[in-house]
């Protein structure tokens, strides 16, 4: 890893610390964590529920900050990330490291204080998994980085549920599985139309290593597994019809869009509309699906 990309002399602006936490990624993490919490059969007092979701958000922010600290050299090579605080030289690496470690430790201690040991342990595991397993170990070494690393992003609903109940049950494990299986098609769709960035940074993403047709096939295969995992809670009688119908309709659309990606033969980034559509829809898919889990629990 190379040292700081650009020298900084001024103290970093607080907005750059905020940018370090990847707020856009955090929104999905917070939402799925909140859904895990609200779908649980135990209702926490609002102050504790709010704190649990806050801790999930802070932990995600800490993981994002540590990821940017470690990857500042890679970020400088990719157009999509070159303007982040570290590669742009608006912050020194030590500040990012201190911020990430401090925020992570604070989130785990606060979670333990407000909810239970198991939720705090899972929260710590999610940060360590994202930073050590995904960022440090897998990302630069294998095309399966997203597959295994996806587990880090799948923790929030499990943590939300455990924060409320104190136990790991089948339903939150299925919610974990949905995000885990959803991550590869989501990121591979993105990596298809920004693959030149990944190639320039020598990140072994699947389109760079295995080629575009293989990636499109893998996207479709994983989309099938997402559909099965999404319908499973209803099939196993863990949810009602509201979730069941929502999961089936959404998964059919997801599969249709993945099918269009599979059918696309173009290697030109400008002609990758199916990939862009699948990427955009995949975010919506997760939001609506997890929203349906909560609506089903409280309405049905």
């Amino acid at each position: 890893m190379t040292p700081a990309i650009a020298q900084t002399s001024l103290p970093a602006d607080w907005r750059d610390f905020l940018a370090l936490t990847k707020p856009r990624v955090m929104s999905l993490v917070v939402f799925t964590g909140l859904c895990g919490l609200l779908a649980a059969p135990v209702t926490l007092p609002p102050a504790l529920g709010f704190t649990a979701v806050l801790c999930i958000a802070l932990a995600a922010g800490a993981a994002g900050a540590l990821n940017q600290w470690y990857e500042s050299d890679l970020d400088a090579l990719m157009r999509r990330t070159a303007n982040r605080p570290l590669p742009a030289g608006r912050m020194d690496r030590q500040s990012a490291l201190h911020f990430g470690v401090g925020l992570g430790a604070f989130s785990v201690v606060l979670m333990d204080l407000a909810t239970n040991h198991l939720a705090a342990l899972l929260l710590a595991a999610s940060i360590l998994f994202y930073v050590l397993i995904y960022t440090v170990w897998l990302k630069r070494r294998t095309a399966q980085n997203i597959v295994i690393g996806g587990a880090a992003g799948a923790f929030p609903p499990l943590i939300g549920w455990v924060a409320a109940t104190g136990r790991i049950e089948l339903m939150p494990v299925l919610l974990f599985a949905i995000i885990f299986l959803w991550t590869p098609p989501h990121f591979w769709a993105l990596s298809l139309f920004v693959r030149s960035d990944y190639a320039a940074a020598k990140v072994p993403m699947l389109p760079v290593v295995a080629g575009i047709p293989t990636t499109r096939l893998q996207i479709f295969v994983y989309s099938l597994t997402v559909a099965v995992a999404a319908v499973a809670p209803w099939g196993l009688g863990l949810t009602g019809w509201i979730y069941g119908v929502t999961a089936m309709v959404l998964s059919l659309i997801f599969l249709m869009l993945a099918g269009l990606v599979l059918a696309n033969r173009s290697t030109d980034t400008a002609s990758m509309k199916p990939e862009r559509r699948l990427f955009a829809f995949s975010v919506l898919y997760l939001f609506i699906l997890f929203g349906a889990v909560v609506v089903d629990r409280w309405v049905a």
Binding site: L10, D13, W14, P45, P46, T51, A114
Partner: protein, 43 residues
């Protein structure tokens, strides 16, 4: 006209200090609410 580096440094430090003060105050309130909720749970 662009601000002098020293002025900019002071401005950023003040902004960060003000933000930290608000965050600490919010943390104190949160700790109080957590304590009240925990006492309620164990009654």
């Amino acid at each position: 006209m662009t601000p002098q580096p020293e002025d900019e440094r002071v401005r950023r430090q003040r902004e960060r200090a003000r933000l930290m003060a608000w965050l600490l105050a919010a943390f104190v309130v949160l700790l109080f609410l957590i304590t009240v909720a925990k006492i309620g749970l164990h009654r």
